[in-house]
């Protein structure tokens, strides 16, 4: 029986490694062809390591294609979105978790609705709204919707976390005569760091790679974020795979580095989300 057990174990583990290859090889393929020229990709050496290694493709990608511009736009949008997502949702969660006011329960459920509304449903009126308010084709056109889309989830995370902080923490501050604002800033804010990490990571992932709204709300080439900017590049270089691959790799490097450093926290953030949402 031991042999059968061993065989079963090997078989199951081989599935895991097969999928490892399925997950990884396409990325390797992309990395390789970013360093080859067309002839090599198409005919002589489609699957293997590049020979010679053509870093020129990367130079080509950066100079003939303003990838830094798209990076800059994505960064600006991400930073401002995350700042306000955190501030607004933390303040809101605090009001709902700690304070007593008439519409507290209603407000909580109201904000939770956001989790169930698919973004596609509000796509059209939102585009119209942004145009009518005059900030279409600007960074604001993305920042404000991104804030709105992420408030529900972030509030949920902060709310769940705040509930684990004992009220005694603020009680002593109040007894010392602190106002609620001071108590919030000096006591609560330092304590919510773990939840802050979760919210920041989740929001960053949602905002940096967001495609649909960015596609619709920003048509100005100068202001496009990375996912949309890359699209235009792909069109331009559809016959030269090398530079296109280089651009794709360049675009992915930041996220991959972030992931390699903070991978564990990212996975925690996303799976807490899954657990809490249930």
């Amino acid at each position: 029986m031991k042999i059968i057990e061993k065989l079963k174990s090997v078989l199951l583990q081989s599935f895991l490694w097969i999928y490892f290859v399925v997950s990884l090889y396409p990325l390797m393929y992309m990395l390789f062809f970013s360093l080859k020229n067309n002839e090599e990709i198409f005919f002589t050496n489609p699957l293997g390591l590049p020979n010679p290694i053509r870093f020129g493709n990367y130079l080509n990608a950066v100079t003939s294609f303003d990838i830094l511009k798209f990076f800059r736009n994505s960064t600006i949008v991400a930073i401002f979105s995350i700042i306000f997502i955190v501030i607004f949702s933390l303040m809101f969660s605090y009001a709902v978790a700690r304070m007593t006011w008439r519409f507290r329960e209603t407000a909580k459920k109201y904000m939770l609705l956001g989790l169930f509304i698919p973004m596609q449903v509000i796509m059209i009126p939102l585009a119209v709204l942004v145009k009518q308010l005059g900030f279409a084709n600007s960074h604001l056109a993305l920042i404000i919707p991104y804030i709105a889309f992420n408030l529900s989830f972030s509030s949920l995370i902060f709310y769940a976390f705040l509930r684990t902080i004992p009220i005694e923490m603020e009680e002593s501050a109040f007894l010392d005569g602190a106002t609620i604002y001071r108590s919030f800033l000096q006591i609560i804010v330092p304590l919510i760091k773990p939840a802050l990490a979760t919210v920041t990571i989740f929001s960053f992932l949602n905002v940096w790679n967001e495609y649909t709204m960015a596609l619709i709300l920003v048509r100005n080439q100068e202001l496009k974020t990375l996912p949309i900017g890359l699209l235009s590049f792909a069109g331009q270089f559809s016959t030269e795979w090398g530079p296109m691959g280089a651009a794709m790799i360049l675009a992915s490097i930041p996220m991959i580095i972030v992931y390699l450093i903070m991978g564990e926290q990212i996975e925690n953030a996303l799976t807490i989300g899954g657990a809490v949402k249930g």
């Binding site: 199951l12 699957l47 249930g278």
Partner: protein, 298 residues
């Protein structure tokens, strides 16, 4: 003067200041457009000239449109395929990974998750390269093995094209579903497995009768992500096929997008959006009904 805790926490002005920004932005950007969609669906509007109230005519038109039915079919295919692939494989991998003497667990988990953090543009462009009929990876592999079989992966007018896009999307988010299921499985207390072992169950029986039922909550979430995500698919379609060839890979969202932003039919697009949200609600309620109708506590 000392204030009581209660009076400090009932400070209405403070509550307002704290809660207002989030509520305002949320209401304005999410809730108001939600009602706008409903409202706009009853009008015929090109986005510039004043709209014309046509009540349910958009809906009547929609149900006569062949593209709608193609979109619904594609959405269903996408949803079912994605759910089966993601939940099926993720379960297989997660449960296998629970084994004690496993080698390389950390690197496996990391690599599975990498596609999730990539931009959809990069993933789609990569798979477009692989699917390329003349030079792409897949057909090259056939060539290397000396086969004359080739597949024109994304040019089928039938369902092959939407299946190809679904595989791309499933590949990208498999790591996420895996992480959710694995996290759920790891949180099952050890004594369940011990009890099953004492009762003489094989690992297969254990997983079928103990692990999977206990994962019901997790499956509920992952099923909703996969299925509703499939029904509402847009990004991958828009980059890889633009709904083509012809209208072969239209999904409901793409249909809606084209109506509003390509054909300037904002009212009609909103009618499709209404159908989309009804579909999502229906499926979510259905999945909730079918899975985990009782709260599971350990």
């Amino acid at each position: 003067m000392q204030y009581s805790m209660h009076s400090i926490l009932s400070n209405k002005k403070a509550a307002f200041i704290f809660a207002f920004p989030a509520l305002a932005v949320f209401s304005f950007i999410v809730i108001y457009p939600l009602f706008s969609t409903l409202f706009m669906s009853l009008y015929e509007w090109d986005g510039i000239l004043p709209g014309k109230f046509i009540f349910l005519d958009n809906f009547k038109e929609m149900f006569k449109d062949d593209i709608l039915y193609r979109s619904l079919l594609n959405g269903l295919i996408f949803a079912v395929l994605q759910t089966v692939i993601q939940l099926g494989l993720a379960t297989l991998f997660a449960l296998t990974m629970l084994r004690k003497n496993l080698y390389g667990r950390n690197i496996l988990r990391k690599v599975y998750f990498v596609p999730v953090v990539l931009s959809v543009t990069v993933v789609c462009q990569l798979w477009l390269s692989m699917y390329n009929p003349s030079y792409g990876l897949f057909n090259k592999i056939f060539e290397i093995f000396g086969l004359t079989y080739r597949q024109d992966w994304l040019s089928s007018m039938g369902v092959a094209s939407i299946i190809a896009v679904t595989i791309t999307c499933s590949w990208q988010y498999m790591g996420y579903q895996f992480a959710l299921i694995y996290a759920g499985a790891k949180s099952i207390p050890e004594h369940y497995f011990e009890a099953a072992k004492i009762d003489g169950a094989t690992s297969l029986q254990t997983h079928l009768k103990v692990t999977i039922p206990l994962l019901a909550e997790t499956y509920r979430i992952t099923a909703i992500f996969a299925f509703v995500g499939g029904l509402n698919a847009f990004g991958h379609i828009s980059i890889m096929t633009r709904g083509g060839p012809g209208t072969a890979t239209y999904t409901l969202t793409y249909f809606m997008y084209r109506a509003a932003f390509r054909l300037d039919q904002y009212g009609y697009g909103c009618a499709v959006a209404v159908l989309l949200v009804l579909q999502s609600i229906f499926v979510t309620l259905l999945i909730n009904r079918l899975i985990a109708h009782e709260r599971i506590t350990y």
